[in-house]
């Protein structure tokens, strides 16, 4: 269980998160939606200690991570994987070396074991045979899948996705969503996904929450959110220009 308690974060005079409370159950596919610049990525980075809140607590099971030192935080991070918005692949390494990197650096596995694991993950994300390519030689969708393979290679319990489909065409958006669902069923991790792909994420989520002006304005099942009477949620779902969300 991941629990956020009254998380507040500001940059200078700009308040980005102003009291976030969230419970993310084990093995859920929890999607956080919101307009661009709402603070979704910032929220995600709090879950893994890449950002520390000004106040509030982040609980991973029974460990409160905001006050942990580097070593203790790294022990918690070993349970996580993260797919960054741009993939964050190491551009000086091939796809194979990128995916093998966490195993080489963090485990004592032999090169043969690493090879098998890397090939298994690349096959699962549909990238068998592109081992030798460099990130700059891949399309946007392939880069995301290679990054997904790297984040899965350490068998994380919790996987964070920062806008996994940004910049992709609708077919590839669906393909990535299908891939996440299949991998979730196969590997049984908790997924926290930040996205603004409406309505595509509804087929993916077991739980969904909407972030607006630094607070969670609505959360629940995808159907509950779709039927919400909250005007902010309704405007976001329908994509209308008129409403409480300031477009400009």
């Amino acid at each position: 269980m991941i629990r956020l308690v009254n998380i507040r974060k500001s940059f200078g005079s700009q308040m980005v998160l102003s009291g976030i409370n969230l419970d993310i159950p084990d093995r859920a596919v929890y999607v956080v939606v919101g307009v661009s610049g709402a603070g979704k990525s910032c929220l995600l980075k709090h879950l893994i200690g890449l950002m520390r809140p000004d106040s509030g607590q982040v609980w991973i099971d029974d460990i409160e991570i905001t006050s942990l030192g580097r070593r203790a935080l790294n022990r918690v991070r070993n349970r996580f994987g993260m797919l960054f918005q741009g993939g964050a692949l190491f551009d000086s390494m091939s796809v194979y070396d990128n995916v093998a990197f966490p195993l080489r650096e963090k485990t004592r596995k032999s090169e043969a074991e690493i090879r098998d694991k890397v090939h298994e993950r690349l096959f699962q994300v549909g990238l068998a045979g592109v081992d030798a390519k460099f990130p700059s030689e891949l399309s946007g969708g392939m880069r995301k899948r290679a990054a997904l393979a790297r984040s899965l290679v350490s068998d994380p319990e919790i996987l964070l996705f920062d806008e996994p489909t940004t910049g992709l065409d609708p077919i590839r958006v669906n393909a990535i969503h299908r891939l996440i669902l299949d991998l979730h069923q196969m590997l049984d991790f908790t997924a926290v996904i930040v996205s603004h792909e409406i309505p595509a994420v509804f087929s993916l989520a077991t739980h969904i929450a909407m972030l607006h002006q630094g607070v969670i304005v609505e959360s629940g099942s995808p159907s509950a959110l779709q039927e919400s009477n909250n005007p902010v949620v309704r405007q976001f779902m329908s994509g209308q220009l008129e409403g409480p969300i300031d477009v400009y």
Partner: protein, 256 residues
């Protein structure tokens, strides 16, 4: 008036904050240098990048520096009939001063700027965050090898610069201008002692630390996209050059 005081205060606070962050960054890196394991592959890669790939530039600039010093020195010394002092003049100025300073400035321009840009791009494309998410220490993995490589390569490149410069001076002073070959080297070896050579080594080692420190810090904390990386790279080069010259004066005046 109030606005002027306010902006002065803001600038002072920003400078102090930046100095504090740089100090913490240096302290963290120095502690991490002694923490195992050593990233051997990364270290070799950095030695190759800073050292081997700067070699041609160092040979070229070293040769012409020695030639210019010999040419100007010969013209000046001839007025007083002191052409025989050309060897010591070229040797001492290269060993104590020009070798460490100019080689460090050349490496800053070639490798320091590239290191800042590389780390800056890694920062803005979240590659450094990715290392943290993997529970790896980015300073240990990225910065420590650069510090160690700079500590190894700067004194070596300095010695190449000085050696080539001395022979460049020989070509101009002896072969072209007709000075005495025996006097050039014998006067040089009697004028320069081991303390001069150690001074050059200490200087180049400390310049290496300065370049690694500033270049890594500026790249590691680059922000705001491509423009931010460009800004960080410019800042790193300017700051390295200024600190090298200031530190050169300080170390030269303290250890005369």
């Amino acid at each position: 008036m109030l606005r002027l005081v306010r902006s002065c205060g803001r600038l002072t606070l920003r400078t102090l904050r930046e100095m504090g962050r740089m100090g913490i960054f240096l302290g963290t890196t120095l502690i991490d240098i002694f923490r195992p394991p050593l990233q051997g592959g990364q270290l070799l890669r950095r030695i190759y990048f800073i050292g081997s790939r700067s070699l041609l530039l160092i040979v070229f600039t070293g040769a012409f520096t020695g030639m210019v010093v010999a040419l100007q020195g010969y013209i000046a010394l001839r007025r007083f009939g002191g052409e025989e002092a050309l060897g010591p003049m070229v040797g001492l100025s290269l060993i104590r001063e020009l070798g460490p300073v100019l080689s460090a400035l050349m490496i800053t321009a070639r490798a320091g700027s590239a290191l800042t840009a590389e780390l800056g791009i890694m920062r803005i494309t979240e590659q450094i965050d990715a290392l943290e998410v993997m529970a790896l220490n980015p300073i240990k993995y990225l910065v420590v090898p650069i510090f160690l490589a700079a500590g190894i390569t700067f004194p070596l490149l300095n010695s190449v610069f000085v050696t080539v410069g001395i022979y460049g001076g020989y070509i101009v002073g002896v072969e072209l201008l007709g000075g005495s070959s025996g006097a050039y080297f014998s006067q040089m070896s009697s004028a320069a002692d081991s303390s001069d050579i150690w001074m050059g080594v200490y200087k180049s080692l400390s310049f290496g630390m300065i370049v690694a420190w500033v270049s890594c810090f500026k790249g590691f904390y680059a922000a705001h996209g491509a423009e931010g990386v460009s800004h960080a790279t410019t800042q790193a080069v300017v700051m390295c050059a200024v600190l090298i010259l200031v530190w050169d004066y300080f170390i030269g005046s303290v250890f005369v």
